[in-house]
């Protein structure tokens, strides 16, 4: 097993972000399990216990995957180097993205309802290529705003065309 890894001055995101993922997964799990159960109950002529078993199985499987978020969130990190922003994420499927600052088109800071509950924000660094998809979730307090201003400042000094 030879994994890719890049040494660097990594900054981690808040571990609380795992809770955000878990809550989001839990909400979806309830919705999907409920919907599946309802469809099975009304459409097919299954016994009540079978429907309940299937719904619970979906719920448990999704919650189990949500629990993995605690491990996954530890792998999310970012590093600001002189010329580029390096973002990593993923445990089994690892992904490292390096974006030169000059490529910044827009920086988004977003906050969903679950994130608001936990006082976390997500920062999105948008380039002209749709595939770049650089997001840094789980930034607590005003970290996201601070990071955004930092990125905008450094990007302005290295602005380049498309």
């Amino acid at each position: 097993m030879e994994r890719i890894d890049i040494a660097g001055d990594w900054r981690r995101v808040s571990p609380r972000y795992a809770w955000a993922e878990l809550w989001t997964t839990a909400i979806w799990a309830v919705v999907i399990a409920g919907a599946t159960g309802a469809i099975l109950w009304f459409v097919t002529g299954l016994e009540r216990w079978a429907v309940v078993v299937i719904a619970v199985a979906i719920l448990v499987a999704m919650l189990a995957s949500g629990v993995v978020a605690f491990l996954r969130v530890r792998t999310i990190g970012f590093a600001m180097r002189e010329d580029d922003l390096l973002v990593r994420r993923g445990m089994l499927f690892r992904r490292f993205v390096s974006v030169p600052y000059g490529r910044m088109q827009v920086v988004d800071v977003t906050q969903g309802p679950v994130e608001r509950m936990l006082d976390l924000k997500t920062l999105k660094f948008v380039t002209a290529a749709a595939t770049s998809a650089v997001t840094i979730p789980g930034l607590p307090g005003t970290d996201a705003e601070v990071l955004r201003d930092e990125l905008v400042a450094v990007a302005e000094s290295r602005r380049a065309g498309l």
């Binding site: 097993m1 030879e2 994994r3 890719i4 890894d5 890049i6 180097r81 010329d83 580029d84 390096l86 089994l92 499927f93 690892r94 992904r95 490292f96 993205v97 390096s98 974006v99 030169p100 600052y101 000059g102 490529r103 380039t127 002209a128 290529a129 749709a130 595939t131 770049s132 650089v134 302005e156 000094s157 290295r158 602005r159 380049a160 065309g161 498309l162």
Partner: protein, 619 residues
């Protein structure tokens, strides 16, 4: 030397494409004079003069035939067909009750007589005339409100009666200028000027304009986009007369005066043969033959009903693609790469420097014995296809078919550093340039002059690329990253480093087990980014690490925002050296010198910064 494309509407005294305040040009540009006088006597400045009046910052209208070309004709034709087929119904509608009308000739005449007698016919005719007049009025109004203007740094288009739209596009952001001459529009001497900006629906279409005006207007727009303030540098050489004749003979005629002729000569036979050697086409033909044989031998005549449409569609697709490829030419002009192609409907495009985001060189299987390749490129905009009217999905052809030397020439236009390099050669033909050799080369070539070879899939991971594992590889030069793939369907992706948006390194669990990873280069304008898989972990990480150093450097050194500085001297006088040369750290710092300003501010600064750059020595 007949000129079937001389527009009939030009016989009107004042072509409305030029608004009244242009008395100076009236004398030469009077259309009647153009028709009577032999073309050789027409001053070459006429079109230039017209273009200059078009870009004076005032609003101008389009070619008077525009409503007709933009669908007005279709409306008339459809209306006529409807009227014709519904004639009987219509007459029956106005008939007095009790008359049995079934459309037979004697009855019809009788019915008409009755109508005429009781006065209905007049009303019917009047109604028809009113509808016709309304249509004409509508077209005329639409034409009246459809206006454009070109100011110092933006081009604006206003159109629409009920649904108004007003589009402004900054000239500094132009991705290319496309001149299309659909066959039908050519009959009116009209053509379509498409000013391309980055984005899915961000082009500014000036459809339709007078052909000679559009040619000159393009130079004006490109000149302004490049930051030139004067048009004098673009005085066209060569006689205007020759260009008029050439227009029908060559798609790139209007640019011959300023640009050298095509760098690549494609024989028509090559283009035809290469089109016929399409795998899909061959399979289709073979299947058709098999079907005919089966039909005759097994005696199943109904097969004909499926066969005929299939053959028809195969033929029409082949003819259409073929007519697009014929009369291809490519050249380097001061404003960028000029592409021209098309047999009946022609297109000429000018791609300013730095508007090619990635290149794909590939070799269809059947071309392999002949050593032919094709080159496609990605741009940040969508264009419409003149012949079919369909939107091409970002990918465009740089070279429809060509030998290795042609490919080399064409790529040299985009990335001069790659021209004739070993890297390019290995990328196209190499199978085992990688491995130990490559690593040794990379170590030796530490000065970065020409990085040797490709790093390829390690032996342990050959199960992922059973056939092509020795070919599958990546090379990172100082100017471009090359992705080499495919043993049977050979292809080479080239991305200029100055155009890459970001780099990514991925690894899934299976890849982890095999000790490999894959590398993606994110570029503008393609739904899928160029990727290369099955690279050894150490190689992939080394490439990734090097990309993080080289890419920002390449972006910083990119001078395409001021491309006229870079390409000055190609087919034109060198840019005049202004006395007020601003002290710049280095010519290469051009693109990064406008720091501290938001994008829109930058556009307004454009003229200023370019004036500064003009004084610099050419890099």
């Amino acid at each position: 030397m007949s000129e079937p494309h001389v527009p009939p509407d030009e016989q009107q005294p004042a072509p409305p494409a030029v608004t009244p305040p242009a008395p100076a040009t009236d004398a030469q540009a009077t259309p009647a004079a153009a028709l009577i006088a032999p073309p050789s006597e027409q001053p070459p400045e006429a079109a230039q003069e017209r273009a200059r009046t078009l870009v004076d910052g005032d609003w101008h209208r389009l070619h008077p035939a525009t409503p007709l070309l933009r669908g007005g004709l279709a409306v008339i034709v459809v209306g006529a067909i409807l009227l014709n087929s519904l004639r009987d119904r219509l007459i029956a509608l106005f008939l007095p009750a009790g008359v049995d009308y079934d459309g037979d000739a004697p009855d019809a005449i009788e019915a008409a007589e009755r109508l005429a007698l009781n006065g209905t016919l007049i009303w019917v005719l009047l109604g028809f005339l009113v509808v016709l007049a309304l249509c004409v009025l509508g077209f005329w109004l639409a034409w009246r409100v459809h206006r454009f203007r070109v100011t110092g740094d933006v081009v604006e288009v206003q159109q629409g009666i009920l649904f108004r739209s007003h589009r402004r596009a900054p000239l500094a952001r132009i991705q290319g200028v496309n001149l299309e001459k659909p066959l039908f529009a050519r009959l009116f001497g009209a053509c379509k000027l498409e000013i391309q900006s980055a984005g899915a629906d961000a082009n500014v279409d000036l459809a339709y304009l007078r052909t000679d005006v559009a040619d000159a207007l393009r130079f004006e727009i490109l000149a302004r986009a490049a930051g030139r303030t004067t048009t004098q540098q673009h005085q066209q050489q060569g006689s205007h007369a020759q260009r008029v004749v050439d227009d029908f003979l060559r798609p790139d005629a209007e640019l011959v005066g300023v640009a050298p002729t095509s760098l690549v000569r494609l024989k028509a036979s090559t283009v035809v043969v290469s089109s016929l050697l399409d795998l899909g086409l061959v399979i289709g033909v073979l299947a058709s033959i098999a079907a005919v044989v089966a039909m005759l031998v097994l005696d199943i005549p109904w097969l004909l009903f499926t066969l005929v449409p299939t053959i028809l569609s195969i033929v029409s697709i082949t003819v259409r693609t073929l007519s697009r490829k014929l009369r291809y030419s490519i050249a380097q002009t001061p404003d960028g790469i000029r592409l021209a192609y098309g047999l009946l409907s022609t297109t000429t495009e000018v791609l300013p420097a730095g508007r090619v985001f990635s290149i794909t060189v590939s070799q269809p299987l059947l071309w392999r014995p002949l050593g032919w390749w094709k080159v496609a490129f990605t741009r940040a905009t969508k264009t419409t296809d003149a012949s079919s009217g369909q939107q091409k999905q970002y990918a465009n052809v740089l070279l429809p078919v060509g030998t290795l030397a042609d490919v080399d020439t064409v790529i040299g236009l985009v990335l001069p550093q790659l021209r004739g390099s070993r890297l390019l050669h290995d990328g196209l033909l190499g199978i085992r340039a990688g491995d130990e050799d490559a690593r040794a080369d990379a170590a030796v070539d530490a000065d970065g002059s020409e990085r040797g070879g490709f790093v390829t899939t390690p032996r342990r991971a050959r199960i992922l690329r059973p056939l092509s594992w020795r070919r599958n590889g990546v090379a990172l030069g100082d100017d471009a990253v090359l992705l080499r793939k495919g043993r049977i369907w050979r292809s080479l992706g080239i991305v200029p480093l100055a155009r890459t948006q970001s780099f990514a390194l991925h690894q899934g669990p299976l890849e982890g087990a095999l000790g490999v990873a894959h590398l993606a280069v994110h570029v503008v304008g393609s739904a899928l980014s160029p990727t290369i898989g099955a690279l050894g972990v150490d190689d992939a990480q080394a490439t990734f690490a090097r990309a993080r150093e080289v890419v920002p450097a390449a972006i910083g050194a990119d001078t395409t925002e001021t491309w006229h500085v870079r390409t000055a001297g190609v087919g034109e006088e060198p840019a005049p050296v202004a006395a007020a040369a601003a002290p710049m750290p280095a010519p290469h710092a051009a693109s990064s010198s406008v720091d501290g300003s938001a994008p829109h501010d930058r556009m307004e600064q454009h003229d200023v910064t370019h004036d500064e750059h003009r004084g610099e020595p050419r890099p």
